[in-house]
């Protein structure tokens, strides 16, 4: 019997019949993407407001009494957890992953649209559970986003009864949601590419999202298990993580557990998690830079292998978050070495971005501003990571503002800049409208310079020894008065940056209605998502016939071509290419066609 590859069989699409199935319980990956993205941004705003509350307290401790020490802890915890998991993870995988994967691989939808829809609704449930903890008795947990035991369940920690349970439940539900979406993304990339689209012709966005999803599928299990065990400890009074403890003169009924075990589980998830956020960002920014520099991405293959290498290495570095917890010096040596090795493929990517810009025909469109801003902030945050990766340097810096500065530069500001770059870049495709360029540029400069005004001084505060997660500095010998002045400045910068985001929200919402109509493929992009017959693409994406791909996604400024870009779907016979992979689906009948 002739074997017909599934990718060639027409996929049954779920056709929506009513407004509700079209826009609410939709199985269309594009609608799900927008739902994921907007929900993530909405919780992100909550986290932003929390951070501004904290900044007001830190900058002007005597002036404002909006929060007390325990609600400060709660704000720190919720801010961190929301930003890392519920905003950034959901945004790049659930949002951009959903939108871009089927379009970039030339599929009509994800392979299992119903499961994909379920993924979003389960994610929404996890968000609701998390938000419910604000209204629970005792409020949300104040254990820090790392949730370290035993302090999570000690009476002195705010939210030690209800808050922590809701947090754990919400995380478990989130992981279920992520798994449903993630299985879809991975299977779609592996099994549902269109004719001619080999793995080595995928745009780097797809490579980044794909690898990040694989990391998620392997890393979230550790968090899941940690959450279940901690729920046992809290609800059933088991002692997985609880050693013998005397609290207020009274011994607790726990003994023999290992708090370090939790740290291992948490960071076995936690470190890959930072790359779950970073890899999609790497991918998106590569495509944006290449498009607006009108040049093919420098070293495409190297970029792919670097993504894979970083993904693999990220599973063997986790204990660099635990240097201060104490470990056998050989382990410290091992984890410091692997941590520093990860900087090699990372630096390689940075060089390649810069070399892509080199002698490019750079168009300073708004996405390019954000992309170049990202290169700055990412180099910056990456360099401080090298410091922290060394045990002896980390010991004094750990738990100070230096660490705060490091990870905000590298996984706070950098991904957020790329998020903006990506929204501005794909907004014409998603909405068919253009945004307002002037407001967008204001938004960029305020955000970019403001971020430096916030985080640069924090490095210095860290050197002074200002500890993180403290409600107020009090009076200490080693922290000079001037530190407080710096704190006040940081707060003012933070307020300005926070307000600048209103420009973004306004711009997007206003442009949806009043924006100029976008031309088809306004950036002259070569990748497949811009080649749909309709803009914005309709349900099913491609009209009657699926596209075929004849080249990689980076044929920009090819000598001898008619335009300065050649869409991936242009046959090799019609236009030259610089794609190293000679694979023509019309002649080179691959095995998949047998």
């Amino acid at each position: 019997m002739a074997y017909v590859p599934l990718a060639d069989q027409e996929q049954e699409l779920h056709h929506p019949h009513s407004w509700v199935t079209k826009y609410v319980f939709s199985q269309d990956h594009k609608v799900i993407a927008i739902q994921y993205g907007s929900t993530a941004v909405a919780v992100g705003v909550v986290a932003l407001v929390l951070s501004l509350l904290m900044r007001l307290q830190l900058g002007f401790p005597e002036t404002f009494s909006l929060i007390d020490p325990s609600s400060y802890y709660q704000a720190v915890t919720m801010h961190g957890m929301i930003m890392v998991v519920y905003l950034l993870t959901a945004l790049f995988l659930g949002g951009f992953g959903n939108y871009l994967i089927p379009l970039m691989v030339g599929a009509r939808d994800m392979v299992f649209p119903f499961l994909n829809m379920l993924s979003y609704w389960v994610y929404l449930v996890s968000v609701i559970i998390l938000m419910a903890s604000f209204f629970a008795p005792g409020g949300p947990t104040g254990a820090g986003w790392t949730l370290y035991p035993p302090q999570t369940s000690m009476a002195g920690t705010p939210g030690h009864d209800w808050g922590i349970i809701l947090m754990l439940a919400s995380l478990a539900v989130f992981i279920v949601a992520f798994t449903m979406g993630g299985l879809n993304y991975v299977t779609t990339v592996l099994q549902a590419r269109c004719r001619g689209l080999t793995m080595m012709r995928l745009p780097l966005s797809v490579w980044g999202i794909f690898t990040a999803t694989v990391l998620g599928l392997f890393a979230f299990p550790a968090l899941f298990v940690a959450a279940i065990m901690m729920a046992f400890d809290t609800l059933l009074h088991t002692s997985f993580f609880m050693p013998a403890i005397i609290e207020a003169g009274q011994p607790l009924d726990t003994a023999g557990g290992s708090p370090i075990l939790f740290q291992h589980l948490f960071w076995f998830f936690g470190h890959p998690e930072v790359y779950i956020v970073a890899l999609p960002v790497f991918g998106l920014v590569s495509d944006i830079i290449s498009t607006h520099a009108r040049k093919n991405i420098f070293g495409y293959r190297m970029m792919v292998w670097a993504i894979i290498a970083i993904g693999g290495l990220s599973f063997i570095v986790w204990a660099h978050h635990m240097y201060v917890s104490g470990m056998n010096p050989y382990f410290g040596f091992f984890f410091a070495t692997t941590t520093l090795i990860i900087a090699v493929p990372t630096a390689l990517k940075v060089y390649n971005w810069v070399l892509t810009l080199w002698e490019g025909d750079i168009r300073m469109n708004v996405p390019m501003f954000f992309a170049i801003g990202f290169i700055f902030t990412f180099i910056h945050g990456g360099l401080t990571g090298l410091f922290l990766g060394n045990v002896v340097i980390d010991l004094p810096l750990s738990d100070t503002y230096f660490v705060i500065a490091h990870f905000h530069m590298v996984m706070g500001v950098s991904p957020v800049l790329v998020f903006f770059a990506a929204v501005y870049h794909w907004f014409p495709l998603m909405s068919g409208k253009m945004y307002n360029e002037t407001i967008a540029k204001w938004h960029f400069w305020l955000t970019f310079l403001g971020a430096y005004a916030i985080y640069l001084p924090m490095h210095y505060l860290g050197f002074l020894g200002v500890p993180r997660r403290y409600y107020a500095l009090g009076s200490t010998d080693f922290i000079p008065e001037s530190a407080q002045a710096l704190n006040a400045n940081i707060t003012i910068a933070a307020l300005i940056v926070g307000a600048a985001q209103l420009l973004f929200l306004f711009n997007i919402i206003w442009s949806l209605k009043n924006g100029k109509k976008a031309e088809h493929n306004p950036w002259g992009s070569a990748s497949l998502e811009w080649q749909t017959p309709d803009v914005p693409p309709v349900h099913g994406n491609w009209g009657p016939k699926l596209p075929s791909v004849y080249r990689w996604a980076y044929d920009y400024s090819v000598p001898g071509a008619h335009q300065d870009f050649i869409p991936q779907s242009t046959p090799e016979a019609d236009e030259p290419t610089v794609d190293e992979q000679h694979f023509d689906p019309d002649h080179d009948q691959s095995k998949a066609d047998i």
């Binding site: 074997y3 590859p5 599934l6 990718a7 060639d8 392979v111 299992f112 798994t179 993630g182 299985l183 879809n184 991975v186 299977t187 592996l190 099994q191 549902a192 590419r193 269109c194 004719r195 001619g196 689209l197 080999t198 793995m199 080595m200 599928l217 392997f218 979230f220 299990p221 550790a222 899941f224 298990v225 940690a226 279940i228 065990m229 046992f232 059933l236 009074h237 088991t238 002692s239 997985f240 013998a244 009924d253 003994a255 023999g256 557990g257 290992s258 075990l261 291992h264 589980l265 076995f268 791909v549 992979q581 694979f583 689906p585 009948q589 691959s590 095995k591 998949a592 047998i594």
Partner: protein, 227 residues
């Protein structure tokens, strides 16, 4: 160019060369249906969950401050006053492994499109699974009411023994229960002929899950009852 040469060039290669070919092909990397690829990926992810559970168990067992009880004594059943160690668990393991056999047969009959036999064998598999869960419930009851073991307490030594035991066997039991329900649903649809057009890969996909759950049990069995 002759036809023979062309077909030879197209024939799927084996070994490393085939692997490279698959990964550099367009459209799809593995020549399997989407559902099967997805089930494989899910099972790898689930493997990480069980691995985390089992490594945590080992860690907890090493750090516990009180002595760990002897499994062969705790998991013994008395017959006429003579305690037989691990007898119940041996039966449970045997049943689960047998169910893997009936499942494999079901897959085979599925591809031969013998709907009735396939459905029956799947039903048998589900029945074995259900009896496994039943015996597990019996074991739990015995440990709780008979020996006084609780998730938070254990009269025979380290309380973590009870915690880990109920957590891991419970989590595995949920997997088996979910599998039984899944098998029943698929078996019904097979019987009613829902897959005549789409083909019977679904039986194999359900089978993959079932074999996985059995395989995990072997590890739990070895690490929990034999160590």
């Amino acid at each position: 160019m002759s036809d023979i040469a062309a077909t030879d060039a197209l024939a799927p290669k084996s070994g490393v060369e085939g692997l490279v070919d698959d990964w550099s092909a367009d459209k799809q990397t593995y020549h399997v249906p989407w559902g099967k690829a997805m089930m494989w990926i899910f099972l790898v992810s689930d493997t990480f969950i069980f691995t985390c559970f089992l490594t945590s168990y080992m860690n907890v067992r090493w750090t516990a401050t009180e002595p760990w009880p002897y499994p062969s004594e705790i998991f013994a059943l008395e017959f006429g006053g003579v305690p037989i160690p691990l007898i119940l668990i041996a039966i449970m393991t045997f049943i689960l492994i047998t169910s893997s056999g009936t499942m494999a047969l079901a897959v085979n009959y599925g591809y031969r499109r013998d709907r009735q036999k396939t459905a029956l064998l799947m039903l048998a598999t589900a029945a074995f699974g259900a009896s496994f869960v039943g015996m597990q419930a019996f074991e739990w009851t015995k440990l709780i009411t008979g020996e006084g073991i609780r998730p938070w307490a254990n009269p025979f030594g380290a309380p973590q023994f009870g915690s880990v035991f109920f957590m891991i066997t419970g989590f595995h039991g949920l997997h088996v229960t979910g599998g039984v329900i899944y098998l029943l649903i698929v078996a019904r649809k097979v019987y009613l002929g829902h897959y005549e057009k789409k083909g019977y890969e679904i039986v194999e996909i359900a089978g993959l899950y079932w074999h996985f759950v059995d395989l995990v049990w072997v590890f739990i069995f070895a690490l929990f009852y034999l160590w």
